[in-house]
Amino acid sequence: MSSAIASGERMLVVDGIDVWLSGREILHDVGFAVEAGEFTGLIGSNGAGKTTLLRVILGLQPPSAGRVLLEGRPLGRRGTAIGYVPQKVLFDPDIPLRTRDLVALGLDGERPGIPLPSRRRRALVEEMLEAVDATDFADARIGNLSGGEQQRVLIAHALIGRPKLLLLDEPLANLDIRSEFEVVELIARVTQEQQISVLISAHDMNPLLPVMDRIVYLAAGRAASGTVGEVVRSDVLSSLYGSHVDVLHVHDRVVVVAGQATDSILTGSDESVRHEPQDFIRVS
């Protein structure tokens, strides 16, 4: 679904990305663009390739074909140009690192040496902690935080470097509805102030509908991008999936339902996870 995309003032341009992994084509000719200050949702079920695509954009996964341009330039030295909030990270409760330390690492963690105490640094960290409502547990160990608290800290860690683009990998997974709402609201609020572009991946588009400017829908390794109105339609998604798909609107929620028995049923809020037989030992 990509066309020739002109680069230039666009914050992020993804063009013709192909990725092969373990002998399978995960992504085929994926392309889209994100403008400055836009909130883009990367929607797809588990296994659709969202994390792979994010890793390509971050420069962690070399694509078999295609290119990624950040502000018109190919990805070079990364540093803090792109803020990255990975999927849930497991922290050992014994780790000697406080919330404020993790956020401070977001400033300059990749630089060598021991950080010298500086007023400016401390002020920046305090400011960021306030912005994400984390001052209450600023001195707590990161291993003792709840899921929602940890989410906020990871966002602060990613944003403190003043990136132009914020990437979040499934931040809403495993959250209850109320926390989902709070996190989306937090992200939208903080990034809007700074005009930061956001690319957030999720398997359910509904919590993001209120704030999404643009959607990139990933299915069967292919992508369709545009506004929600342009993309989330039966004909567009059917041609993506290669089989009949219905899009239903229930009140203000969207439900995507596969028509044939051969496809797994996708709704707006269920995960479709394929289990693999456990008769082999997976040992590294």
Binding site: L60, R78, I95, D101, D139
Partner: protein, 273 residues
Amino acid sequence: MFSTLMINTWLAATIVAVVAGSVGFFAVLRGSAFAAHALPQGAFAGAAGASLLGLNTILGLGVFSVLGALAISLLGKRGRHDAVTALTLVLMLGLGALFLSFSVEYAPEVYSLLFGEILGVSRGDLLPIALLGAASVLAIVALYRPLLLSSVMRDSGEARGLNSRTLEVCFLLVLALATSATIPVVGAFLMFSLMIAPAGSARTLTANPLTALGLSILIALATVWIAVAAAYETNWPIGFYVGTLGAAGYVLARARQAWQIRGHGHLVVAEQA
């Protein structure tokens, strides 16, 4: 105890404690307890080989510990090193057995290499130990931030351009350097205990990383000084004291932590820095 004969030992012990405390902080953070254990034991083979060839034992320690570090990082898969570490370790130990069997007089020297010897540090040894020790500590200072980030949040580090694999190799090499510096005093078997016990205790006492690093060094210093004094008085090996004091300290630290939890009914959210 403070005669000129023992000055070397005190100096070396102090250097060793600083090195072990700082490197150990990261070894514990990264869950590298096994590597911290394996490298020194393997390095012992190098010392045996060096003494067989008539070379300085520290050279042998250095070479074998570096080789071991490289083997572990190159042969091991991402994050899951334990089978490879075990195999590399026993291969080097086996080589140690081989070298030992070739040499004629070995028992006392071997014993001191394995378990530490208060008079095991000669004047000539002091300089290499100091240099290796300084190099290890400098490396830890330089790597502090990236290693901290990469150890705690690997993906975020990668996104910022930190190659975790390279960092792992670097860290293991620093571990190897530290090993060569510390074995002559504390012995191959117990050196790792000096690395992980103080760091393990320190991190239960504070959540501030820099403070934990400092405490790790302080606890290591206390451990090693008491060990040297006690070894001098009783003639028992230093390694014995290091091992038992380290374990005792860790148990105390854990007990204090459990007491805190019980006293508050839940984990205290904001701890003292």
